[in-house]
Structure formats: structure tokens, C-alpha cells
Amino acid sequence: MLRFIVQRLLLLPFLLILFSIIVFWLVQAPPGDFLTSYIATLASGGSSINEAQVEALKRQFGLDQPGYVQYLLWMESISKGDLGLSLEYQRPNTELIGERLVLTIALALFAFFITWAVAIPAGIYSATHQNSLLDYFFAVLNYIGVATPNFMLALILMWIAFSNFGLSITGLFSPEYIQAPWSGERVVDLLKHIWLPAIVLGIAGTARLTRVMRANLLDELNKPYVVSARAKGLSEWKLVWKYPVRLAINPLVSTIGWYLPQLFSGSLIVATVMNLQNIGPLLLRALTQQDMYLAGSILLIYCFLTIVGTLISDVLLALVDPRIRMEGV
């Protein structure tokens, strides 16, 4: 087990270098660079800058260098733990990402807990009461949940809240707390706002997880070990929780690691639609403005978390399933 983890960790730097090249290439891929879009923005605002200024800016940002030099410079600063400077904001990327990190993680954790807290019991109920009225009810809800794009749901909810109750349910804070420093009141205000985006973000996952849990459990409920446990005289409720639920959840545990990159990413479209100040809109803006070091840094962290998340998944699965644990030794 330990050997397996060490092996994976040794592989990590190589994967990251590979991913960084791909990320850098992708971010650079659209025609033009940050200056092109900067000039365009200025032009649309009615102002302009001359050739000399453009050249000066180019040198300042290092955009006059060839691509590989830019890449190597970026890599050099990353190896020192510095993610570089955002071209647009003219502030360190670490700082920009850092200040949105808390909200991003808070929102994702909320969505995660809602998903699991609803999906697992609903899935268990549906499987143990197969073809009951409530099972059908959950099934219909689940199909709707899976089929509705979450940004659409966000728009609909926003529209309903606004047209019926005159409420604006966008954002994660009331206006007076947006710029306020962290305090007890600000946390309370956050909790008042966070549940709705969390539900919007969690609903498709909940629906999918419910179906998967139901299907997994239905498979397990017919296994001979359930019959033999029942024949022991174990009560039905205890039996279902101890044996088939445990086995049905096993494969799902391996998906927990995949939430790690999601924790960081912030759902891009929903966050933009609902005006949530997390990393999602930051990435979107960085990409459209060709703020390449910021976009590249976010994507690279995303890759890093994906690799670590997969490793965590594998370790978790080995921990809960002795069959995998003992083979891996």
C-alpha cells in the first residue's frame, strides 16, 4: 500500500510537467495575446494607445519573447512557489486565487454534503422499496434532475424568486457584506445565501448518485450473503445497513476523490450566471482576456488536484474494500 502511494507520488512531477506544457499551449492557442484583447477593450472604451506604448507593454509583460522562453520563465517562477503575475489585474496570481478560494471551497463542500445526504438515503429507500410510490416519485425527480442543465435551473429559480417575491438571489452575500472583512455576521450572511447555489450545483449530482446507489444496492440485495444474513435472524434494517449498503457504497467511495478538483474549480457557468465570487468566473475572465499566466495557473492547480484526487480515490477504495487492499500489497 505504502509503496503504491509513493510510486504514485513519484509520478506526480512528471505528469505535472506534461500537463503544464499542454495547459500553456492551450491557453496560448487562441490568436493574439493579452495585449490584443487589452487594446480591443481600450478601443471599445473610446481610448487608444500608440505603437511605442504597445511595444513597451509587450516588453514589460515578456510577450516579445518566443513561446518557449515564456513557458520556461513561467515554470521557473512556479518552481519557486510563485504562480506569476496576472497581466490584467497586475497582482500576484496566488493572491487573486487565494481570496476566492474560501468561497469556492465552502460552496463546493455544501453542494457535496447536500448531494450525499440526500442521494444515499433516497437511493437506499428506492432500492429497498422497489416499485413503490415513493420510488417512482424519486425516479421522476431524478430524471428531471439529470436532464435539466444546472445553469438553466439557476436562471429559472432566479426568475421565480424575482418575479414572485421580488428577491434577488444571486451572489453569495448581501450587498453590505460583499467587501466587508470576515466576521461572524458575514459568515451568517454567507450561510443565508449559499444554500441556493449549493442546491443548484448539487441537484444533477444528487439525481445521478441516487440512481447509481439504487442500482448498486438492487444488485447487492439479491446476493446470497444477504439471504444467509437474514437466515441468521438479523433484523432487516440492521442487515441492509451492514451488508448490502456497505457493498453498494464501495464503488461510490472511489468517486469522492474526484470532488477535489471540483472543490477548487467552482462551477464556471452557474457561478457566472448567479454571480458567485468564486474561482469559476475568475477563470472565465482570464481566458477571455487572454490573461495567460492566471488562466494557466488555475488550470495547472486543477490538474494537480485531479491527480491527487484520483490517488485519494484509490487509497479510499483500498481502505474500504479488503479485496483491493490485499491484492495491492
Binding site: 446476493k223 446470497p224 450473503y225 439471504v227 444467509s228 444474513a229 437474514r230 437466515a231 441468521k232 435472524g233 438479523l234 433484523s235 432487516e236 451492514k242 451488508y243 456497505r246 457493498l247 464501495n250 474500504v320 474494500d321 479488503p322 479485496r323 490485499m326
Partner: protein, 345 residues
């Protein structure tokens, strides 16, 4: 046939499966008695209702199956010692998941399941699952329960039992797993052990060992065993008394001697003819029973075996269902060749 002495007395048991496509009468009026210390064999082809009958006795028939009629009279182990005054309870009257039923299930009637290979959860140790059964029915500490489990492992002949208890089922060979299952079933000293085709999944050598083990344990503990199989050879070797089932009905029952040496029912006779013997002329095809088992949704009218029966009486066997009647001293047969009693419609 005496209710007072029988350990288990099943009376006209009916288990139906209510499906969207119709009703499957998996068990359609089965009556038999099992006495203390007896090995009671049940034979029949797949789908004849033998396993469902046993699940009904344990009250673990899965939906959409349902007990729709009959009685399952069980001589309940009373709290005081002495078996004479044990009360008789009707298991059909209990709620399947009630405390009263669960106290009997596993403690007084235990199951050796059909698929021993998959009958342990793969993510819990074997010890955990056996100790759980002991703690459910006996008022002992966890440590004492482990000692009981350990002793059971020794009794069924599992080498290095201490270590095996902490292993998972998939780490054990087929034979050891089979023994572990038997250890679990016996861990609470049941009065009746239901062995549902316990040896179908193991090789012949292991099968012989397991059968010998079951006989020895049965003799030591004076428990009754209901032994379900489709293997007539195993039945001849194991059972004292045999019941032959076909399509949810009892065709014939009697002592192992009567059934094998003087079979009355044409179905039993046909079954016995289809076993190869050592004295047979080699390279000739075995006699088979013509036709195949009817689809459970459209069972034939009258005697269920009549479409495949050589001796079927037209106008009688295809119209009325024969009842199980005593023929001779101890043999019961449901066939119009021997009597005229029919099942009340």
C-alpha cells in the same frame, strides 16, 4: 404423521408469487413432518418448489412471493429445560421480520445456503459474521462469542482456526468456505438444519467430506436436517426419509428404502430409471423423462405430471389433482393409480 412428536410439521403450505404476468404457484399445498434427529431429504428438479418451501419455513421468502395458505407448526424451544413441554407455534402467524420469528430463525432453525461460495459478505471477516450470529441469539460477551466460533471452526475441521476467523471468505478454498458456512449455521445449536443443495458448488472429493461432516455433526448434536438436492445419489447416502416434489406438489414420500426400492409414483420411478448404474450396458443412452417441465404460468390441470406420465389415465389425471395418501405402512403417494382421493378444489 404424529403432530405431537414432529419437530416441524408443515400442513398444506401454499406459497405464491404474485407477478405482473400472473400468479406462480411455486408451492401449492405441501405437507410433511420432520422429526427430531431425522435426516429428511427433499428431491426434485429445478423449480419444483423445494427451496421456496424451505425459505417459507424460515419465513425469508422474498417478495413478490407470499405464503397464502397452510400452517408451519414448529416445536419451539422452551426456556426451561426438558423437551416434553415445548409449545408448538405456527410460524405462518408470525410477522416475517418480528422479534419472535427472528429468535427462531438462526437459533432454532438454521440454513446452510445454496451458494456457499457467495454466502459470506466479501468485505467483512468470516469471524465477524459468525460472531454476529452468536451474539444475536446467545447472551454472551464478544470474547466468549469468539471462543464459541473458534470451537465451531475446530468442530468442522478447519485448520489454523484462529487465523481463519480473521480472514475474508474469498481467501478460503471452496471446501473451507463450505465448512465455515456449516460452522456458522451450527453456531447457535439449532434443532433443525436446512441444507439447501449444500454440495452443488464443490468438487466430488469435497462433497464427500462435507456430507460425512454433516452426518457426524448431526449424530453428535441430535439435530434434524432437511437436505435439499436434485442429486439422488446424495439423498440415498444421507437421508432417512425422502420427499419427492414436482411443480410445487409432493408426489411421494417415504423411508429412503421404500423410495429407492419400491417407488410407487411414476415420477419417482422415472427419476430412478434415469440414474446410470454400474451394471448397466455401456454406451446406450439413459432413459429420460419425455417432455420438459411446464412453464410455471400455465401448469397443467389435474396432476401436474400427467403430460409426461406414461401411465396417465385420460379423463382422470388431466382433470383432477390426486391427494397425498398413505399407501402401505409408511409410504405416501399422490397418484390415481393407487387411490381415488383428490385435492378439494
Amino acid at each position: 404423521m404424529n403432530n405431537q412428536t414432529a419437530l416441524l410439521s408443515v400442513r398444506d403450505l401454499q406459497v405464491h408469487f404474485l407477478m405482473d404476468e400472473g400468479v406462480v404457484k411455486a408451492v401449492d399445498g405441501v405437507t410433511f413432518d420432520v422429526h427430531a434427529g431425522q435426516i429428511f431429504g427433499i428431491v426434485g428438479e429445478s423449480g419444483c418448489g423445494k427451496s421456496v418451501t424451505m425459505k417459507a419455513v424460515l419465513r425469508i421468502v422474498e417478495p413478490p412471493g407470499k405464503i397464502v395458505g397452510g400452517e408451519i407448526l414448529w416445536r419451539h424451544r422452551s426456556k426451561q429445560d426438558g423437551s416434553a413441554g415445548d409449545p408448538v407455534v405456527d410460524l405462518v402467524k408470525f410477522d416475517a421480520n418480528s422479534k419472535a420469528m427472528r429468535d427462531i430463525r438462526g437459533a432454532e432453525i438454521a440454513l446452510i445456503p445454496q451458494e456457499p461460495m457467495a454466502s459470506f459478505s466479501p468485505v467483512h471477516t468470516i469471524g465477524d459474521q459468525i460472531i454476529e450470529a452468536i451474539l444475536l441469539h446467545q447472551d454472551v460477551s464478544k470474547r466468549a462469542a469468539r471462543q464459541i466460533a473458534l470451537q465451531m471452526f475446530k468442530d468442522v475441521g478447519i485448520p489454523i482456526p484462529e487465523q481463519r476467523l480473521d480472514e475474508y471468505s474469498w481467501q478460503l478454498s471452496g471446501g473451507l468456505r463450505q465448512r465455515a458456512i456449516i460452522a456458522m449455521a451450527l453456531s447457535c445449536n439449532p434443532r433443525l438444519l436446512i441444507a439447501d443443495e449444500p454440495t452443488t458448488a464443490v468438487d466430488v472429493t469435497t462433497q464427500a467430506q462435507v456430507l460425512r461432516l454433516l452426518r457426524r455433526l448431526q449424530a453428535q448434536r441430535n439435530a434434524a436436517i432437511i437436505f435439499i438436492t436434485h442429486d439422488l445419489g446424495v439423498i440415498a447416502q444421507m437421508a432417512d426419509y425422502v420427499m419427492v416434489m414436482y411443480l410445487g406438489l409432493v408426489m411421494e414420500q417415504g423411508t429412503v428404502n421404500d423410495i429407492f426400492h419400491a417407488p410407487k409414483h411414476p415420477y419417482t420411478q422415472a427419476l430412478l430409471r434415469s440414474i446410470p448404474t454400474i451394471t448397466m450396458t455401456p454406451r446406450i443412452s439413459l432413459p429420460t423423462i419425455s417432455g420438459s417441465i411446464p412453464h410455471p404460468f400455465n401448469k397443467p390441470r389435474g396432476c401436474p405430471f400427467h403430460p409426461r406420465c406414461e401411465k396417465a389415465i385420460t379423463g382422470k389425471c388431466d382433470a383432477r389433482t390426486p391427494a397425498l395418501q398413505l399407501i402401505g405402512e409408511k409410504q405416501l403417494v399422490s397418484c390415481f393409480l393407487y387411490h381415488d382421493a383428490e385435492v378439494a378444489a
